[in-house]
Structure formats: structure tokens, C-alpha cells
């Protein structure tokens, strides 16, 4: 009986752990940047009702990506029912020396994950069949719709309008 109890506690703990990365902005800290391959990344993507998710593919070395980052963090902080996930394609070996310091320096509070999956010819078409792999690129989705943008957003309003359109 006691063993069973412990087992269930264990299962619950694992279950919670599995969910930790999907939504916990209040406790999220810059240094907590998980590294996933594409399969893991796909599995942990949240899909709650009444929420719209904005997945932005970027890297610290990509100048246009860095330019548009502030509008994504603004979108994230200003809208309760919109969640931004910043997917870094920085080289995994530079995670500690470049990516983490960049997040700290720019005080990025949105969730950042490092996508470490070199077999991009396999996963890029899964994100969108027309995407050739150039970044920045953004996927907006909710339980009803999704849309892919293989380009940079020029303004906060442009991004907000697109997200609002998808929510309808």
C-alpha cells in the first residue's frame, strides 16, 4: 500500500515536471532555457483552449530576428491570452556563452527554448512545407487555426493584428 502510494506520488511528480515548461511565466527565469530536439519540442508545445500561441524561430546571430524580438516580448507581456515561445536556433555549444547572456542582458521574460536538432531537412517541412529554413519565421496557432509567417514583422501592431485575426 505504501509502495503504491509512493508510486502515484512519483507519477504525479513526473506529470508535473513534464508540464513545467509549457506555462509558468511567473517563475520563469532567464537561465532556465531547456534544450530540445524537434520531437521533444513538438511534444511539449502547449495547446490550451482560448489561448493563442506565437512561436518565433530566431537566433542571436540573426540581426533581423534580434530587431523584432521586442515586439514579441511586448505581445507576451501585454496579453493575458497570448503566449510567446521563442525558439532559438543558436549553436548548442554557444548556449552558455552567447544565448543565456543575451537573454539576461535584454531581460527577456518570455519562454525561450533551444532547438538542438541538426537534421533540419527533416523537421523544417514539418513546421511548414513551404518554409526554406530562413529566419526569422513565426508560427501562430491556437486550437482552431494556425498560420505561418516566413518573414520579419515590422511593427507591434502588424503582429497583434495577425494574432487577433487568427483568434476569430
Amino acid at each position: 500500500m505504501k509502495k503504491l502510494f509512493l508510486l502515484f506520488i512519483g507519477i504525479i511528480f513526473l506529470g508535473c515536471k513534464e508540464h513545467n515548461n509549457s506555462k509558468s511565466e511567473e517563475t520563469f527565469q532567464a537561465e532556465k532555457v531547456p534544450t530540445y530536439n524537434f520531437e521533444e519540442f513538438e511534444k511539449q508545445l502547449p495547446k490550451e483552449e482560448n489561448k493563442t500561441y506565437v512561436v518565433n524561430f530566431w537566433a542571436t546571430w540573426c540581426a533581423p530576428c534580434v530587431e523584432e524580438l521586442p515586439i514579441f516580448t511586448e505581445l507576451d507581456s501585454k496579453n493575458e491570452n497570448i503566449e510567446v515561445i521563442l525558439v532559438s536556433l543558436d549553436l548548442p555549444k554557444l548556449k552558455d556563452s552567447q544565448l543565456i547572456p543575451f537573454i539576461k542582458k535584454n531581460k527577456i521574460s518570455s519562454q525561450v527554448i533551444l532547438l538542438d536538432d541538426p537534421y533540419s531537412n527533416v523537421w523544417i517541412p514539418k513546421v511548414n512545407k513551404d518554409w526554406d529554413g530562413a529566419i526569422p519565421a513565426t508560427l501562430v496557432y491556437n486550437t482552431k487555426n494556425r498560420k505561418f509567417y516566413p518573414h520579419k514583422f515590422e511593427s507591434y501592431q502588424e503582429l497583434l493584428d495577425e494574432v487577433q485575426t487568427l483568434k476569430k
Binding site: I12, E42, L45, P118, Y141, P150
Partner: protein
Amino acid sequence: MKTLKILTIVAIIIAASAFAVNNVFEGGEASNSSVDGYGIGDVATDFSLKNIDGKMVSLSDYEDAEGFIVIFTTNHCPYAKAYEDRIVALDKKYKSKGYPVIAINPNNPDKNEQDSFENMQLRAKQKGFTFPYLLDEGQKIYPVYGATKTPHVYILQKEDEENVVRYIGAIDDNYQDVNAVKEKFVENAVDELLAGEEVSVKTTKAIGCGIK
């Protein structure tokens, strides 16, 4: 016992939600990406671009070539850097077989000092480039080809004095680790062309640095 029942239910709910894999990515919804540039089978334009030695280079200069491995690459991009040694190896392997590498820097040097002509010369020297490294001055050639990022490869096959596009995409399937490469896309394609066969994998995708 009641506690156990509740715990069981809670555990099942949590486990179910944890494994409810969503299909965010499945399928290919229409995007508003515009597909410009060359497709497979198109005839690629020749050009006259300045090499790092100051001389102008055109595809027509290579009378004996059977085709070309045209690679849009650049100095500053980490993904391009990861491939420099492999590009040198490609040229060494295929130049003598009739498929030389022609590297083109499509970036505007005004946007990033690292991509300047002087820095191209420096980088080529450091890495021992055995092939021309051309500057797409005025950025006129890369949009015609439809290159969007670096590195971006176009394999051309010479046919009746025209250069026909036979492959577009990545060099291989693993930019990070040359030892973990499963498929050498460019090598396979050139080998097939040299054997008089059709290229089996004609297009591939990869992350790269957008051209600026």
C-alpha cells in the same frame, strides 16, 4: 483507500494531459511565402563577378567543366562557418571530376563589416579556399537564383552550353557535426550526375542566415 482513489484519478488526468501530443505542426498549411528564383530544370544565368584575387569570374570561363557547385556563402554566418571545411573538401573532390565549387557572397558588405571584400580575402586565406569566392556586388545575382540564406547550394549541369539547375538546398543533413552526417546531399547529387543518372534528392531544406 479513498486517498489512493483520488490519487489514482489525479495521476491519470495528469498523465493523460502530459501525453496529449498536439498536432501543431502536422500538415502543411498554406503560407504567404513567395517562391521566386530557380526551380529544378531551369536554366541558370551566367554572371561576371569579382573574385577575391580581383579578377572577374564567369561560368563560361570554365570550358572543360561538366557543371558547377554554386554555393552562396558568407563570412559572418555561424551556419556558413560550420561548412567552410566541407566546402573546401567538395571542391578538392569534384573540381578534377568536372564540378568545381563557385562560392558567392550575396550579402551587402555595408550591412555587416565581416562580409566586406577585404574580409572575404582574409577568410579565404585563413581557411585555404581552393575555389573562387565572388562578391555579388550590387546584389544582382542571388535574387535571380532565388537564394534566401547562407549556405545555399545550386548544382548546375552543363547541357548544350546552358547550365541547368539539378539540385537546390543544403550541403548535407547535419551542420553541427560532420561525423554525424547521414546523407551527403551535394556529394550524392554530383555522383549521380557524373554517373549519368537523374538526381534522386533534388531539393533539401536547412536553417541558414538570411541574406542581407
